[in-house]
């Protein structure tokens, strides 16, 4: 079974980077450029994993997670936040919003896949 992943980042290069890596690893990737769009896409599709940036226009990553967790189909789904913050406070915030975990930017393609394998099998 091919896992469907939604990636959300306002930076097109990060998005492309994610998409390239994930496509290469045979995941089915959907891209979105802000939280609003991601939320809409998430409602229309049933993704197995959502990876989102935190700092985004329209709807930031943390709010996106909270909004997703309210939806029954995303209650238990893994959601990973992309963050450049190494600050533990930010991580706490991420957890409080309901994120499964985080991926620290910058990441190698390999590290990204390792992180994803933590939540998708």
């Amino acid at each position: 079974m091919v896992h469907k992943i939604l990636v959300c980042d306002d930076s097109v290069s990060i998005r492309q980077m994610l998409a390239l890596t994930l496509n290469d690893a045979k995941y089915d990737v959907t891209e979105s450029k802000n939280g609003m769009q991601a939320l809409e896409l998430a409602k229309q599709n049933n993704f197995d994993l959502i990876i989102t940036d935190i700092n985004m226009p329209l709807l930031d990553g943390l709010s996106l997670v909270s909004k997703l967790r309210v939806l029954p189909e995303y209650r238990f789904k893994p959601i990973l936040l992309l963050t450049t913050e190494t600050d533990p406070k930010k991580k706490k915030l991420a957890k409080a919003a309901g994120a499964t975990g985080w991926i620290i930017k910058p990441f190698d393609p390999d590290k990204l896949l390792v992180a994803i394998r933590k939540v998708l099998r």
Binding site: T84, K95, K118
Partner: protein, 707 residues
């Protein structure tokens, strides 16, 4: 190992980062001193943040570090810890410049001045209200973390008791166990004591806790890393117990069934694990330090791949047009299948529809290359801000017509000339506030940048309400340079012409900004290269206005076909003023080299094209052919041709790319009958002609003195 071609993403990263810097800059310029504008500040923060994120992926560590510093400072600004002052804006503008410089350098693989980076970085750090001890290491820790794998088997005892709602954050303990299993041999013992009665059981909660025994060479950090995401949602106890190796066997061998099935999967993730450290151990030295010695050696320049962003509506339009084209084509197909004369009318309709489709398609395809001039104008608020501060002048910049679109190549090539003109206006045009006050003008000078369509061209105007040109000064300078004699009588226009001569500068002192005399001639040359022209109007004490006229596009031209002997040439329709039959009595000849035609009050030199191109079997008698009066660069010339043919749109093919640059010829095109015709460049022809007749180059063409 995952191998992905990142060059494409790399290009995207640079493009995006430069856009981010533009956003950062314009947001900074929009900030008002003393006012906290959350949206603008967020924009600025996001820009720095995105650059940092992207730079990390491509290991531009110097950029990551610098952007991180900027971001940390911006984070404080965002939290309201700093008031918005001019100094703060200036510092951040400078930081943006440095990022731009670093990005350009990384893009082209060249060095940059590491000192100014350090200075600005220090300043950013000094400005922080909460002093962070140099956190450079932390930023890079992600990459630099040394991964030592010393395979000494240890026995780890792990107690893991997750909180009830752990599943609701998408964390599944079984995934954690799988991870642990990748580190070594794992024994999992589930504790079911906490499971309540069925009636009270909440299916979404996790009631289990586990005891895990791991035999592995892994360190405590490795294990903790696996639990990293859930550490706050569980009780976790990791202890190391010393055990003899044989006990390992004892413990695992009799164990036929594991409580939770964890099989080592066929895909053997371990082999990948082995490779990961190798990749990461690669030492990453902060490049910034080395850059000073690096000289510009562009080994490979991916910047050569140029891209353009096109609005989706333009693409949709194209698709629509192609759709219509297909419909027309199938309609013509149908007519052609069993054609007889009764369907002639239908055929004609079809053909005219085809023509319309083609034209629309052509227009729309051309439009793809068109960008709004705001791409170029947008840099000016910053430039004007910086320059006027530097010069101690007060200037208000007024932009209009930013949405006027022009060809991307034209836009790019116009960028430097525009900067030059704006600098000139600020430096020489607009006066110091004191002087303006004395002259009875408002202290704040005005600089207008305006763009609009006119006929088939784009006009860009740069005007100011400054001092204007001092005609006498210009004339004096020309006399000093020996271009004219003091008593020579010249019109205003002719005097302004000197501004465009190489080596001309009226400014007494050469300033940092302009006045080195290597300007206006280059500006004009650039504009001419694009097939455009520039003119200047000035009133002493009132201001100066430069008008630049440019062709809409470089790829297509409205052409007039002319015949010389058996050859066909194309003249740009825009440069043709009139065509006439020659009246022999109006021709004057000087020393047998130059013929001048008297047209009303003008004297126009005649260029016999057949002589220039060595064409035989052609009309040599002036009165039997036609004289096409064409204008290039404010000068007129009469081109002698056999006859005028049709006018049509000409698709320009570069002669330079396919053959070589030929003076007087701007390109070639393929005619409907398959023949190649040269497109004549009037300005080039005039220069060519002038060289042949040796007239002094600085003189307006109409005033050639023949000795």
């Amino acid at each position: 190992m995952t191998t992905i071609d990142l060059t494409q993403v790399r290009g995207l990263f640079f493009e995006e980062s430069f856009e981010n810097l533009d956003v950062m800059e314009s947001s900074l310029l929009d900030l008002e001193i003393g006012t906290f504008n959350e949206e603008l500040i967020n924009n600025i923060f996001r820009a720095a943040h995105s650059i940092k994120g992207g730079a990390g992926i491509f290991h531009f560590d110097d950029i990551v570090i610098f952007a991180h510093n900027a971001e940390t400072f911006l984070d404080e600004v965002r939290e309201g810890k700093h008031t918005i002052t001019q100094a703060l804006i200036d510092l951040l503008l400078r930081a943006g410049d440095i990022l731009r410089m670093m990005l350009s350098a990384s893009k082209d693989d060249i060095g940059y001045d590491a000192q100014i980076v350090q200075t600005c970085q220090d300043e950013l750090q000094k400005s922080l209200s909460v002093k962070n001890i140099d956190n450079t290491e932390e930023v890079l820790a992600i990459e630099l973390a040394p991964i030592e794998v010393i395979p000494v088997l240890k026995k780890w005892h792990i107690e893991f008791k997750p909180e009830l709602p752990i599943l609701q954050t998408g964390n599944d303990p079984i995934n954690l166990f799988r991870e642990l299993h990748e580190l070594g041999q794992l024994k999992v013992i589930a504790n079911t004591d906490a499971i309540p009665d069925f009636a009270e059981l909440e299916p979404q909660s996790c009631y289990l806790s586990w005891e895990l025994i791991l035999h592995s060479g892994a360190t405590r950090a490795d294990i903790e890393e696996i639990f990293e995401w859930v550490i706050d949602e569980c009780e976790l106890n990791i202890t190391e117990s010393t055990l003899e190796n044989q006990e390992l066997d004892d413990e695992f061998e009799p164990e036929a069934e594991t409580p939770i099935e964890i099989t080592s999967e066929a895909e053997s993730p371990l082999s990948e694990k082995e490779f990961t450290p190798l990749d990461n151990i690669e030492p990453i030295e902060p490049k910034a330090k080395n850059y000073e010695e690096v000289t510009a050696v562009p080994i490979h320049t991916p910047s050569g791949t140029n891209s353009i962003r096109v609005g989706i509506d333009k693409i949709d339009n194209l698709i629509n047009m192609v759709g219509e084209l297909v419909i027309t084509q199938s309609m013509l197909d149908q007519i052609g299948e069993n054609f007889d004369s009764s369907r002639l009318l239908q055929l004609r309709d079809g053909l005219s529809q085809l023509e319309r489709n083609t034209r629309e398609l052509q227009e729309n395809v051309m439009r793809i290359r068109m960008l709004p001039i705001s791409f170029s104008f947008n840099r000016f608020p910053r430039l004007v801000h910086d320059l006027s501060t530097q010069l101690g002048k007060q200037v208000e910049l007024i932009l209009s017509g930013e949405n006027t679109e022009l060809d991307k190549t034209v836009l790019e090539k116009m960028s430097d000339p525009l900067v030059h003109l704006v600098r000139n206006a600020l430096d020489h045009g607009i006066e110091l506030p004191e002087q303006r006050k004395q002259a009875g003008k408002p202290e704040i000078g005005k600089l207008y940048l305006n763009a609009f369509h006119q006929g088939g061209s784009i006009v860009i105007q740069i005007s100011d309400d400054g001092a204007g040109f001092d005609i006498e000064k210009v004339r004096a300078k020309a006399v000093k340079k020996g271009w004219i004699t003091p008593d020579e009588n010249l019109t205003e226009e002719q005097i302004y012409e000197f501004i465009f001569q190489p080596g001309f500068s009226t400014s007494e002192a050469v300033s940092d900004i302009s006045g080195r005399g290597v300007g206006m001639d280059v500006v004009r040359r650039n504009i001419r290269d694009l097939g455009g022209s520039i003119e200047v109007k000035s009133a002493t004490g009132k201001g100066t206005k430069f008008s630049i006229r440019l062709p809409l596009t470089l790829a297509i031209l409205d052409g007039q076909l002319v015949r010389v002997g058996e050859e066909i040439f194309v003249l740009p329709l825009l440069s043709i003023m009139e065509s006439l039959r020659v009246q022999p009595k109006l021709i004057n000849s000087f020393t047998g080299i130059v013929e001048i035609y008297k047209l009303r009050d003008d004297y126009i030199p005649i260029l016999r094209l057949y002589k220039l191109f060595n064409i035989e079997n052609t009309t040599t008698q002036l009165e039997q052919g036609l004289l096409v009066i064409a204008e290039g660069d404010g000068q007129k010339i009469g081109l002698f041709v056999d006859e005028l043919l049709s006018q049509q749109q000409i698709v320009i093919k570069s002669l330079e790319n396919n053959y070589k640059k030929v003076q007087g010829v701007s390109g070639a095109t393929i005619l409907g009958d398959g023949n190649v015709a040269l497109i004549l460049d009037i300005t080039g022809l005039i220069q060519l002609f002038r060289n042949q007749t040796k007239s002094p180059p600085h003189l307006p063409f109409g005033m050639v003195r023949y000795e």
